[in-house]
């Protein structure tokens, strides 16, 4: 593909690009469409301010909405369930530079993942600092050019552009790490290293990764990983041993597991940044599935219009019928009210 791109002809470029996004197209077929509506004017941001790239979105048990976004500085805002602004959390915090994920655990603690400082931070439900994993690269070393060549060896307690965080029912912490490591790390609830799957090296084998970009843990303690550049989702057991691979749902951008006794998994085949030719036709939709992998339906498509998606970066699915999506482009957070799937022409997807 690289050689293909280098060919100096716009016509050839388009011709070459088409198969690329064809590859990212989900191969699963006959998936029922789930109708949905997007709630207008969801978030009332402070006067004169705007959201930026809304890469992180989460809710707590009260329905409060947390948005971790890239504005002039990376910021974390809390809204109530009606979208009224409550407060900013972490203003000036050392671990905020380039937002990537926010998640809320079962105790309503707020966790941020920042790929600009290589940190995962636990805040109390009120927004007080509780614990940090990883370390911001020391500024005393100066500005360093992104190193060419292979990634440096992964270290137990240092991340390299981490992407997401999740917890099992025992409170163990799982981190997907990231853009310049290619691993999933397990820590105990006190932040002590337990195990890792993958390494700094990218790989295609089970329990290897190429840009693990999203992570969630289900009620059985299984770890769901959006393995983005490998264009698949992987499920690991609680000891990070490989269990299952889903490679028919398109690009694994981000994954969400709903709460409650009957859990569902949401997986986003997000359209790529930059809207290259052919991408809107082949990507952009979100899949809803059972924990056993049975796909129930799909919804959404790439568009800059309200109700469409512009690079869904993260989903909140605490309530599986009300999905919050945070988008990179278009700087949006949308709340989607899902209806019942349309009757399917064939039952093959069950």
């Amino acid at each position: 593909m690289k050689r293909c791109l280098a060919i100096v002809s716009a016509v050839v470029l388009v011709w070459c690009a088409a198969p690329l996004f064809g590859q990212q197209k989900a191969t699963i077929q006959n998936v029922p469409e789930i109708p949905y509506t997007s709630v207008p004017n969801l978030l009332k941001v402070p006067a004169g301010e705007t959201l930026g790239e809304s890469v992180g979105i989460a809710t707590n048990s009260k329905g409060h909405i947390f948005v971790f976004f890239r504005s002039n500085n990376t910021r974390l805002w809390e809204f109530d369930k009606n979208g009224n602004f409550v407060k900013e959390i972490g203003k000036g915090y050392y671990g905020f530079e380039f937002a990537h994920s926010v998640r809320v655990d079962v105790q309503d603690n707020i966790w941020t993942v920042d790929e600009g400082t290589n940190t995962v931070t636990k805040f109390s439900p009120e927004g007080k600092f509780l614990m940090v994993l990883g370390r911001r690269p020391p500024a005393v070393l100066g500005a360093v050019a992104s190193p060419a060549g292979p990634n440096a060896p992964a270290q137990k307690y240092i991340f390299c552009r981490p992407t997401d965080v999740g917890w099992d029912p025992q409170g163990n912490i799982f981190v997907s790490d990231g853009y310049c490591n290619n691993r999933v790390v397990k820590f105990d609830k006190n932040g002590r290293f337990v195990a890792q799957a993958g390494s700094e090296k990218a790989g295609k084998e089970p329990a290897q990764f190429n840009l693990p970009h999203g992570l969630q843990v289900d009620g059985q303690g299984n770890v769901w990983v959006a393995d983005r550049t490998n264009i698949r989702y992987q499920v690991l057991d609680n000891d990070l041993k490989p269990k299952k691979i889903y490679d028919n749902l398109g690009v694994g951008w981000t994954v969400c597991v709903s709460q409650g006794p009957h859990q569902y998994v949401f997986a986003s085949n997000s359209n790529p940044n930059g809207n290259p030719p052919g991408s809107w036709e082949n990507t952009g939709e979100i899949y809803k599935m059972e924990l056993d992998g049975t796909v129930i339906g799909r919804f959404g498509r790439a568009s800059k219009e309200f109700g469409g998606f512009q690079v869904v970066h993260m989903m909140d699915c605490r309530n599986p019928n009300e999905i919050l999506v945070g988008e990179i482009e278009s700087w949006r957070v949308q709340k989607l009210i899902l209806g019942q799937p349309a009757a399917t022409k064939t039952s093959s997807s069950r």
Partner: protein, 360 residues
């Protein structure tokens, strides 16, 4: 006597700068309000990327002010700050700041107001073309800020800020300057619309193309690549669309305005107005095209005048020259011509806005 003097001056200017040559371009008398905007004590205007008025006469200024900052992260320096968007009422009284702390504001390039009073921002470093509604809320975003800036910047690479990291600025892999067939910009400079709401982006300094989108932001097509032939561009500095949908492009380093039909087919070019840097077409019937032969910021002893033209390229007259005094210009980057004889002028090198009244 005054007319004699000015034509004498024009002759001298023409002798000095034959690139702007045209027989005896008449000077248009004009007055200037040199300080039309009143600012709160703690706000300063910096270099004026853009100035534009809406239908109520409110004035919007997108300016390079404050501190452009680079912070250190994961071996990826991040760019912040450096530009702000202000609104004034028609008397020049400060109304408010729009988009404080926006992710999109780093190197102010242009602001334009569409017929529905939406505010359009072009930022040359974040590569965003943003449509804000009249209240200032983002409605449509084209382009994307590069996630990080490269270190060290390649020597002499003027496009460095538009590269590095994901998002923003990627080359398309086609002809040099042709860009990607999408809303990936490389130092965009200006935006305009036709009567159907199609969006035309001047892209720009890093690329050498014009990109067309429909009103919903769907990419339609782009045209142009680096060069000096018809339909090629050196630096695309400004863009304007007339009521028929023709597209006027300031191809500044090639010292010409190129005119295209709505689909990008080359129609004609005007090569007698120096280095076109800012363009504006008046609304309504009998449309007028203004084009600034802006002086470079490092030289106030050349150029600087603004031309008033008919759409067919006929020069009606010209006014102003480079300088720091009122009625002189320091690298004009923006012209607002909502009213044919009442112009707002935004200057980079003088960090000011002037309100002009032409007395033709």
């Amino acid at each position: 006597m005054r007319r004699l003097l000015s034509s004498l001056l024009a002759t001298m200017l023409l002798a000095a700068f034959p690139a702007a040559g045209q027989n005896a371009v008449p000077d248009i008398p004009f007055d200037s309000v040199a300080n039309p905007l009143s600012l709160p004590d703690d706000i300063y205007l910096g270099e004026i990327g853009g100035v534009a008025a809406n239908s109520k006469g409110d004035i919007f200024v997108y300016t390079r002010t404050g501190h452009p900052t680079v912070s250190l992260g994961t071996a990826r320096p991040f760019a912040h700050g450096g530009s702000r968007l202000f609104q004034f009422d028609k008397t020049g009284k400060f109304v408010r700041e729009i988009g404080a702390n926006s992710y999109g504001f780093v190197f102010a390039q242009q602001v334009r107001i569409d017929p529905q009073d939406n505010i359009w921002i072009v930022d040359q470093m974040t590569n965003f073309v943003e449509k804000l509604d009249p209240a200032g809320h983002p409605q449509l975003l084209l382009g994307r800020k590069p996630e990080a800036i490269p270190v060290p910047a390649p020597r002499g690479d003027a496009g460095a800020g538009a590269r590095g990291g994901e998002g923003g600025g990627a080359r398309g892999g086609g002809l040099p300057g042709a860009g990607a067939q999408s809303d990936v910009f490389n130092r965009p400079t200006d935006v305009a619309w036709d009567s159907a709401g199609n969006i035309f982006v001047a892209d720009g300094v890093g690329n050498a193309r014009v990109a067309k989108f429909n009103s919903k932001g769907v990419f339609v097509k782009s045209w142009g690549s680096s060069g000096n032939g018809p339909g090629q561009f050196g630096t695309v500095r400004a863009i304007a669309v007339d009521a028929q949908g023709n597209v006027y492009v300031a191809d500044s380093t090639n010292k010409r305005i190129q005119v295209f039909d709505n689909n990008g087919t080359f129609k004609t070019q005007y090569t007698n107005v120096g280095t076109p840097t800012a363009l504006c077409i008046t609304p309504g019937p009998n449309q007028i095209l203004y084009s600034s032969n802006s002086n470079p910021p490092e030289d106030f002893d050349v150029a600087g005048e603004i031309y008033k033209m008919k759409l067919d390229g006929t020069i009606v007259g010209k006014f102003g020259k480079a300088g720091k005094l009122p009625k002189e210009f320091g690298t004009v980057n923006a012209i607002d011509c909502r009213s044919e004889n009442n112009l707002l002028i935004g200057e980079i090198a003088n960090m000011r806005v002037q309100k002009l009244t032409l007395r033709p």
